[in-house]
Every structure is written in structure tokens, then in C-alpha cells.
């Protein structure tokens, strides 16, 4: 098949490629340019795992031939940490990337690069979107793990950083009264003596953990901050 020579500026560097006319842009990015952060999830343009940022827009790179992208400027997830806004939060990363981490906006990570690039286009167009606008802005991208709630928070986090506001430390909504009794708390009946202090097997004996007083909210906040500093 006749090949065509195209030029792409990808993550700031100009690259020349010889491509078959039918080669999808996503395959050019993943296989010819070895940028495997851009993923493939559906083949029908529904899932958005292949979303990249091209000439100021989020596009699904499985719906475009590489030849159609000739002369364009593309940013993939790999280029985000070199973006001018990178480092404005508490890490070296782009605030959107940092938002996904701090707000637990990812689980398996497969949809994440596409989500990050869709969020980038959203925030470029609307620097301080409402929850509804975020949900609509990422509605071309499917995530099977998170239920989207923390993705919304991740984008809000990035908007906070980009608008010079202090972002939240944690996405957790029910933090109070956290209890942990690493030993099971209830009597095991084996007579091993664990959790001595309540009557073994007594029907009214409450598990030790359940009677613990609620965590003091200031302490909780401190704990969150500490968690936030780790990486």
C-alpha cells in the first residue's frame, strides 16, 4: 500500500512518519511513536481511552487517520508533566495529573490518560467548571472503575490549583469515627486471650472497636495532611 509522509508535532517535538493511508492515529501514536499512554478500549469512538489533545481540542485518536493529523500539534498524557502549568500544585506534575492522584480519580488507570486529556480540553475552555459542566465535559470518556465521582473531584482539584485556590486534601466524604482494631476486635472463641477486656463470648459484649469514641476532627485533618504528603 502506498505510504504517505506526514509531520506531527507531538509533545513539543516534530516527528516525521511514513504511514499507510488507513493507519489510525492511535496506532501511529502507540506503535510508531511508542507513546503507549494513549489507550484503545472500544473501536467505535465510545470509550475515549484514546483521547489526545490536538490543536486545542480533545479528540479521539481512534476516529482519525494518522494522515488526517498531518501538520498538527498533539499533546498526549506523556507530555503533560512538561506543560507550562506542571509544578503549580504540590508536585512536579500537571495539576490535572496531581488531581487524579490526590482525589483518587483512578483505579485501574486504563481510562485515565484519556480522562486527563479530556479534562485538559475542558479546563482550557472553562477554567472553573461546575460539577455539571465537568460531568458533561468528560461524558465522552468511559470509566468502569471509579463511578466518576472522584474524577469530578480530580478536575475540581485541578481547577482549584489553576485558579490559585487551596485544593482539598482528601476526597473522602465520611472520615469521622474511623475505627480500626487490627485484631478483629471481637473475641475469637479460641481462648487465645486477644482483646482481653470484655467477656469472651458474652452476648452483650460489644466489639471493642465499636465503643471507641469518634475520632477528633482536628486529628482527622492532620492525618489527612500527613497522608497527602506521601508519595
Amino acid at each position: 500500500m502506498t505510504e504517505k509522509t506526514i509531520t506531527l508535532t507531538i509533545n513539543g517535538s516534530e516527528r516525521e512518519l511514513d504511514v499507510e493511508p488507513r493507519l489510525l492515529l492511535v496506532h501511529a501514536i502507540r506503535e510508531d511513536l511508542d507513546l503507549t499512554g494513549t489507550h484503545i478500549g472500544c473501536d467505535t469512538g465510545n470509550c475515549g481511552a484514546c483521547t489526545v489533545y490536538m490543536d486545542g481540542q480533545a479528540i479521539k485518536s481512534c476516529l482519525l487517520f494518522a494522515a488526517q493529523a498531518d501538520g498538527s500539534e498533539i499533546t498526549t498524557v506523556e507530555g503533560m508533566a512538561d506543560h507550562a502549568d506542571a509544578g503549580r500544585g504540590k508536585s512536579d506534575l500537571h495539576p490535572i495529573q496531581e488531581g487524579f492522584r490526590e482525589m483518587h480519580g483512578l483505579q485501574c488507570g486504563y481510562c485515565t490518560p484519556g480522562m486527563i486529556m479530556a479534562s485538559k480540553a475542558l479546563l482550557d475552555a472553562n477554567s472553573d467548571p461546575s460539577e455539571g459542566e465537568i460531568r458533561e465535559g468528560i461524558s465522552g470518556n468511559l470509566c468502569r472503575c471509579t463511578g466518576y465521582q472522584n474524577i469530578v473531584k480530580s478536575v475540581q482539584y485541578a481547577a482549584d490549583v489553576l485558579n490559585d485556590r487551596e485544593p482539598p486534601e482528601s476526597p473522602v466524604e465520611h472520615e469521622e469515627s474511623a475505627t480500626a482494631a487490627a485484631d478483629g476486635g471481637t473475641d475469637c472463641g479460641s481462648g487465645c486471650g486477644c482483646d482481653a477486656g470484655f467477656e469472651a463470648g458474652g452476648p452483650d459484649a460489644p466489639p471493642a472497636a465499636l465503643d471507641a469514641p469518634s475520632r477528633d476532627p482536628d486529628g482527622a485533618r492532620d492525618g489527612g495532611a500527613e497522608g497527602g504528603e506521601r508519595r
Binding site: E20, D34, T36, I40, G41, C42, T44, N46, C47, A49, A81, L93, F100, R101, H104, L106, C108, G109, Y110, T112, P113, I116, I138, S139, N141, L142, R144, C145, T146, G147, Y148, N150, S170, P171, V172, E173, H174, A178, T179, A181, A182, D183, G184, G185, T186, C188, G189, C192, C194, P203, D204, P207, A209, L210, A212, A220, G223, G227, R230, R231
Partner: protein, 832 residues
């Protein structure tokens, strides 16, 4: 079910150093139990450096494309491969005949059936594997697949389980000797006589048919592999989208005949699994066979349509449930009949002694004296399956059944569904509780969970609003749905639960290095659950370390200890237990080394979890840190101890764990359009002791989204010819951020008494518990008009039909007329 096994590691199941101070919850401040540690694995994913199977590139790698049947049921008359073979770039075309030479044309399923890897005689479902093209490039492989000519003689097909049981139904499995119909097996549980008695003596009985539709896990990454037969070392390495790498290694070895020590399975980053990546699929076998034959690496990656149409589906249970009760709402018996569609092969991936999975937990959270169930499984011309999609082996179907039945009973008795539940809960003092179908529930406090849930959502206020709307003839009806479910997760025990004969234990190996940092290798396999963080937290808690000093490895059978993998919420209950026990073994040895360092007897050394150090009893200033002990174990080991500081544990759980929850779903049902709007979803989960609240909340969000999608959107559908009519993301409707509401999470803590850290597992509870909450809410909105049930997915047209039958629909024209002044036309319309 409980086995009081006394394995040698049983003494570590309870922390002899006393465990953390329950008053000082929230760990020790360095990333221990209960602390919100940000995920250690995230950086590679957010920078695009994850390593998924399709990212793997090897020198000389070939691509495999599978030729699939366009028909659901047809005899293959001839396969013509010549045109494909003649193409530039096509290296080989494989058919069943080629695989038969290596005895790989078929493979055994986990349920004692035999599945075609490539079909030679008769295709049994649409998109079944017929041939494979191996080519230099993935585009050329696709070109080649199009050039393979297969001549079919089509047959009548049957996709519906009930129709498959009809006498004149097409016979799906004429390849099995003696098989004269589509029936696979009958399964029975409980006490039929006692249950019959309960029904005879009941004041009230109710019965409800319900269909739990066929759905698909549909992880965003499809299934695939890169198989690489190393001719020099005669070793097979397969990078595989696997939730259970070790089990897959054993099965690979058994199927291929390659000795197990020459097989290496690597499951790198996995883009979601949800049960879909537990089975072995024909594509894996084809790629491995091709690599073996050609001596080059071969990659096979499914497309989305192949994933939905051929890999394991979930559910597809037609259920009839009956409840016997007293007039004041005490449930005395439950009886259930199920028709289970297993597809073209009996291939469900579940413990071999449980052909219906854990479905027999259908008595749920309720103390029901008599229970009985039967199930008939049937073959149809559909893809094989019945996978545990984010579910512990059919518990999802069981929970749906009982939670719906309780609502039906409440309607029959005109009682509040919360009251019926409260009246029948297993009381908290009854644990451990033996259920009528033979399970031993470990712990629970259902009433506390329900009370907290009802108070949190202002249940009474919602009921008042619901009544007000009915009285005001509001355009939108309010529905309140409850689900107070109990899950059963964490299989083993090994004597009851096995995969291909291998007991369902799990394992962990901890190596503390001379500088005090640790490497942890685990037998379970993350697909997004965050094991690299939570398992590190378990070790950090038990060894007093900083979580950042603990690295967790998984997914490589050459280096990790043998484990059964991650599904059925078994990672924390089994793998997490192994990790805690291994850490306690390390600590026991560390104590002896500390005693040597402190020059006292080990009996005089105490462990201080808060500071992560040992000190002499009564002399807190005479101590050594775990880091110092680690150094001493390599540099100054006691004369009577081996050097080093390592431990391994293979944990066989004495019982399963029983997480539970209380969910409230509040919906508005639009009487004009049938549209259901989920106004609030409140989920209280009790998963025992909590490792990382952020990750738990994330797991619950994701599970709820999948459960809500099951209730509202998703179904794999077929036409009468067996064509899959919802076989890609255009037609199989995954929810976007627009369809999933904000979700409120909450919790109580009822630790598991038999688990080393009191944890129960959480990932699947929300998928299991939420569908009945949503359906109960939608039914509840219409129950005043006599509506008792509608099947999932509750699409607007289905809801509108139900509203219409109940006389609840509104004609939009009426509403327009209210504000209109267009005279005669409006009068005509209202006269209609």
C-alpha cells in the same frame, strides 16, 4: 460453611502482641491501618507509563486475528485458507486441524466441559472462534482474516433458556454422547420438606418471577496476551490480562503439556477485570500455540465487540422466588427455582463443588428457618459464561432475589419494607450464625446499619414527601428503595473451595532488607483495587514501618508465591490475611533478634507498634527500632537464628467473611416519559476493619456505578437468530458521568472475628447490593397503584409501560393544556 482448621499458622491469626490500641484508631501515623494513604501505584498511570498487555512490543512479534462465525449455530462444511495464506505479511493460518496436531483444538473448562479453541465441526454461538490468522502486522492480520472463506450450513438456534428446554428446541451440544436435550444439570439445596411445611402453615405467601438479565463486565481494557515461546530455553512466557496468574500457569501447563516450571505468566498492569479476566479464552491458547509453532512472539488483543460477544458474560438467571410468612411479617420459609443460561459450554469459573456458585446464600440477612432451592442449567447458542462479575460466585443473583422478595412481601402485608427487614434480621447476638442453607456467617450488626441508614436519609421525611406527591397528583412520583444485603466473600476455605482441584488459599512473602526497607510479594493480582498501597499498609501496620518503605510486587509467576488470584473479593480476606500473618512471623523472629541486641531474654522484650520498636519490659528507653533489628538480622545475627529477616505464609481461611450493607435509593419517576432519576443513593457498607478509607470509598463508588448501570442500562441482547444485538459500546450501554449520580457513602465497623486484621473485603458489596435498591425504589414509586415488579434494565420505555398498565401515566398534552388558552383544541384534547 466453616472449617475449624488448625493449620500451623493459626497461632498468628490473632496478634499476640495485642494489636493496635483500639482507642488510637487510624494507624500509627506512618501509613498503617485506617490511614488515608495516597496510592503508591498512581504515578505511572497518570504519566502514561502504565504497562498493559497491548503496550508490550517484542522483537519479531506477530499479530493474531481470529476468524469468527457470523452465525450462532451452523455446521462448518469447509474452511478455505489459501487466499489468506497467499497474502504478503501473513505468516500462518491456523484451524482446528492444525491445533489438533498438538492436542489443542479443545480445552477443558473448570466445570468439566470441553470447549472448542477453534471449531472444526459446528459453531455454537455467534462470533465463535473458527480460524486464526498470524501476520507481521495487525492490519495485515485483519486483512487475512477477511480472506479466510468458511462455508457454513446454518441451523436453527436457541438463545433463551426457557425455549432451550422445550422438546423441539435445537440441540446445542450434539457432540456430547448421550446428550439428548439442552439440560446440563440440576442442583438442589436446603430442606424441601421443612420448606413445604412452612408454606403449608404460613399465613401469607408471595411469589414473584424475576429475570436477572445477561450483562457483561466490560472492563475498558479488553482481554489479550503476548505469548513468547523461547526456543533456546524451551520456556513459554505469556503476558496475559489475568486476574489469577498462578492458576493460569497451572492450567496453561495442563492444557499445553509444557512443564509448569517452563511456563511463566506475567500479568502486568490490568485495565480492569471484574471477573472477565478469570477464565482462559481460546485466543490465549491460539496465540500460545502459534508462538510455539512459529518460534516467534505472538500478540492477540480482542476488539470490544469480541470482548462482549465471546468472553464470559454474567447473570442470566430466570428466577421464581416464594416467601412464606406470618401475618405480622415474620418470614418462615423461602423457596426458589432458577433456570440458568450457561451458554454453549458449561464453563463458569467458580469453585468446582459449587455448580451454582454461592447462590445458596439466598436467605440473605434474614433469620429464616426453612429454605429450599433448585436450579437447572441449560445450554443455549450464546457465548459461555456465568462469570462472577464483581461478585462472589452468584451471590449477586441471590441478593437480588431475596431483597426483591422482601419488598414484595412488604407490599402484600401493607407493611413498611424497613419494618419487615428489621423484624427478620439475624440478631447480632446470634453470630456466628448457621443459615438454613448451611453457611456460617461470621459477624454482623444489621439493625444498627439499617438504623443509621434510615436516619441519614431522613426516611420518615421521604415517606411523607412520597405521600404528598401522590395526593397532589404530582408529575413525578417518589420511590424509596432499600437493600439490606449480606455478601459472602473470601473463598476458601481450601477444603470446600478449589479451582481445578487447587485449594483456594493465598500467599504473601515478606523480605526485610538490611537497610530496613521491605519487599512484599503477593499471590493476588490487582486490577485497580490498589494492592500496592493497601497491602503495604498492612505490612507497615504490623511491622511499625513507614508505608513508603514497603514495596508490593504481584503478577509474575516466576517471582511471586503461588496464589489463586483476585476475584470474589478475596484479596483482603485471604491475601491480606496471608500478608498480616507473614508480617507477624517476621515480627516474631525480629523479637528474638531484638532480644539478642538488647541482651535480654525474648520474653522480656515488648513490641511497641506506635514507634515501630522493641524495648525491654518496663524500660522503654532500652529499645531497638525495626530498622536496627533488620540490620542486625544480617550483620549481627544471633548464634541460634538463621540470618536474614523474611517470612512467607500460605493462608487457608477458616471461613469466608460476610460483609454487609444498608442501601437507600431515592428515585423520581417521570409519569410522562417513564424516565427514572436517581435523586439520592446512600450506601452504608460494613466491611469490618478498614485499611484505607479513600480506597474503600473509591471501591464503593465504582461498584455502585456498575450496580446502578445493571439496574438502569445494561443488557446483552439477542435476536431470534442468535445475533448479538448489543455487542459493542454503541449498543451495550455503559454509563457515563451523566448517568451516574452523586453517591453518599457511609459505614459501620463490625470486624470479622476470624480474620487476622478483622477485615472483610469490600469491592463487590456495592455491585451486589445496589441493583435491588434501585429496582425496589422504582417499584416503590408505583406500588400504591399495585405495581409489584419490573425487570431490569429499567429503561424509560419499560417503566412507561409499567406506569401505563397501572394507570399512572400523564399525557403531556394535558400539561400543555393547563397553561394554554387555545380554546376548542384544548377542550378536545382534555375530553379525550
Amino acid at each position: 460453611m466453616s472449617s475449624e482448621s488448625e493449620k500451623p499458622d493459626a497461632k498468628y491469626r490473632h496478634d499476640e502482641d495485642g494489636g493496635p490500641d483500639p482507642e488510637a484508631h487510624g494507624g500509627h501515623g506512618r501509613g498503617g491501618m485506617g490511614e488515608e494513604v495516597k496510592r503508591k501505584e498512581d504515578r505511572r498511570f497518570i504519566t502514561g507509563r502504565g504497562n498493559y498487555v497491548d503496550d508490550i512490543k517484542k522483537d519479531g512479534m506477530l499479530h493474531c486475528e481470529i476468524v469468527r462465525s457470523p452465525h450462532a449455530h451452523a455446521r462448518i462444511e469447509q474452511i478455505d485458507t489459501e487466499r489468506a495464506e497467499a497474502m504478503d505479511g501473513v505468516v500462518a493460518v491456523l484451524t482446528a486441524e492444525d491445533l489438533a496436531a498438538y492436542e489443542l483444538a479443545t480445552m477443558p473448562t473448570l466445570m468439566d466441559d470441553t470447549q472448542d479453541v477453534l471449531v472444526s465441526d459446528k459453531v455454537k454461538f455467534q462470533s465463535q472462534e473458527v480460524a486464526a490468522v498470524i501476520a507481521e502486522d495487525r492490519y495485515v492480520a485483519k486483512d487475512g482474516a477477511q480472506k479466510v472463506r468458511v462455508h457454513y450450513d446454518t441451523l436453527d438456534s436457541v438463545v433463551d433458556a426457557e425455549k432451550a428446554m422445550a422438546e423441539d428446541a435445537p440441540l446445542v451440544r450434539d457432540d456430547i454422547e448421550g446428550q439428548e436435550d439442552n439440560h446440563i444439570f440440576t442442583w438442589e439445596t436446603g430442606d424441601e420438606a421443612a420448606t413445604d411445611r412452612a408454606f403449608d402453615e404460613a399465613d401469607v405467601t408471595v411469589e414473584q418471577d424475576m429475570y436477572y438479565q445477561r450483562i457483561h463486565p466490560a472492563p475498558i481494557e479488553t482481554c489479550g496476551c503476548v505469548a513468547d515461546w523461547d526456543t533456546a530455553n524451551e520456556q513459554m512466557t505469556v503476558h496475559l490480562t489475568s486476574q489469577a496468574p498462578h492458576a493460569h500457569r497451572t492450567l496453561f501447563s495442563m492444557v499445553s503439556g509444557i512443564p509448569e516450571h517452563k511456563v511463566r505468566i506475567v500479568s502486568p498492569d490490568v485495565g480492569g477485570g471484574f471477573g472477565n479476566k478469570v477464565p482462559i479464552y481460546p485466543g490465549y491458547v491460539v496465540a500460545a500455540a502459534a508462538s510455539y509453532v512459529l518460534g516467534r512472539p505472538v500478540k492477540w488483543m480482542e476488539e470490544r465487540s469480541e470482548n462482549i460477544q465471546t468472553t464470559h458474560f454474567a447473570r442470566d438467571y430466570e428466577m421464581t422466588g416464594r416467601i412464606a410468612a406470618t401475618e405480622d411479617g415474620e418470614i418462615t420459609g423461602v423457596d426458589v427455582d432458577v433456570l440458568a443460561n450457561h451458554g454453549a459450554y458449561n464453563a463458569a469459573a467458580q469453585p468446582s463443588k459449587f455448580p451454582a456458585g454461592f447462590f445458596k446464600i439466598f436467605t440473605g440477612s434474614y433469620d429464616i428457618e426453612a429454605a429450599h432451592g433448585t436450579l437447572d442449567a441449560v445450554y443455549t447458542n450464546t457465548a459461555p459464561g456465568g462469570i462472577a462479575y464483581r461478585c462472589s460466585f452468584r451471590v449477586t443473583e441471590a441478593v437480588y432475589l431475596i431483597e426483591r422478595l422482601v419488598k414484595v412481601l412488604a407490599q402484600e402485608l401493607d407493611m413498611d419494607p424497613a419494618e419487615v427487614r428489621r423484624k427478620n434480621f439475624i440478631p447480632k447476638e446470634a453470630f456466628p450464625y448457621e443459615s438454613a442453607t448451611g453457611w456460617t456467617y461470621d459477624s454482623g450488626d444489621y439493625e444498627r446499619a439499617l438504623d443509621k441508614a434510615l436516619e441519614s436519609v431522613d426516611y420518615d421525611g421521604l415517606r411523607e414527601e412520597q405521600q404528598r406527591r401522590i395526593e397532589a397528583d404530582d408529575d413525578k412520583l417518589l420511590g424509596i428503595g432499600l437493600s439490606t444485603f449480606t455478601e459472602i466473600v473470601g473463598a476458601g476455605p481450601g477444603k470446600q473451595c478449589d479451582i481445578a482441584g487447587i485449594e483456594m488459599f493465598d500467599s504473601a512473602e515478606i523480605r526485610v532488607h538490611p537497610t530496613g526497607k521491605a519487599t512484599v510479594r503477593i499471590g493476588v493480582q490487582t486490577q485497580g483495587q490498589g494492592h500496592e498501597t493497601t497491602f503495604a499498609q498492612i505490612v507497615a501496620e504490623e511491622l511499625g514501618m513507614d508505608v513508603q518503605d514497603v514495596e508490593v510486587e504481584h503478577g509474575d509467576t516466576d517471582t511471586e508465591p503461588y496464589g489463586l488470584g483476585t476475584y470474589a473479593s478475596r484479596s483482603t480476606p485471604v491475601g491480606g490475611a496471608a500478608t498480616a500473618v507473614a508480617a507477624r512471623k517476621v515480627r516474631e523472629k525480629a523479637k528474638k533478634i531484638a532480644a539478642n541486641e538488647l541482651e535480654v531474654d525474648a520474653a522480656d522484650v515488648v513490641w511497641d507498634r506506635e514507634s515501630g520498636s522493641f524495648h525491654v519490659t518496663g524500660a522503654p528507653d532500652r529499645g531497638v527500632t525495626m530498622t536496627e533489628v533488620a540490620a542486625a538480622s544480617y550483620m549481627n545475627s544471633p548464634v541460634d537464628e538463621e540470618p536474614g529477616l523474611e517470612a512467607v505464609d500460605y493462608y487457608d481461611p477458616p471461613n469466608m467473611t460476610y460483609p454487609f450493607g444498608a442501601y437507600v435509593c431515592v428515585v423520581e419517576v417521570d409519569r410522562e416519559t417513564g424516565e427514572v432519576d436517581i435523586r439520592q443513593f446512600y450506601a452504608l457498607d460494613d466491611c469490618g476493619n478498614r485499611i484505607n478509607p479513600m480506597i474503600i470509598e473509591g471501591q464503593i463508588h465504582g461498584g455502585l456505578a456498575q450496580g446502578i448501570a445493571t439496574a438502569m442500562l445494561e443488557e446483552v441482547t439477542f435476536d431470534d437468530n442468535g445475533n448479538v444485538t448489543a455487542g459493542d459500546f454503541m449498543n451495550y450501554l455503559l454509563p457515563t458521568a451523566m448517568e451516574i449520580p452523586h453517591m453518599d457513602t457511609d459505614y459501620t465497623v463490625t470486624p470479622s472475628p476470624h480474620h487476622p486484621i478483622g477485615a472483610k473485603g469490600v469491592g463487590e458489596s456495592p455491585t451486589v447490593g445496589s441493583p435491588p435498591a434501585v429496582v425496589n425504589a422504582v417499584v416503590d414509586a408505583m406500588s400504591h397503584a399495585g405495581v409489584r415488579h419490573l425487570d431490569m434494565p429499567m429503561t424509560p420505555d419499560r417503566v412507561w409501560d409499567t406506569l401505563d398498565e397501572a394507570g399512572l401515566t400523564l399525557d403531556p398534552a394535558d400539561r400543555l393544556d393547563l397553561g394554554g388558552d387555545s380554546g376548542g383544541d384544548a377542550e378536545d384534547a382534555s375530553a379525550d
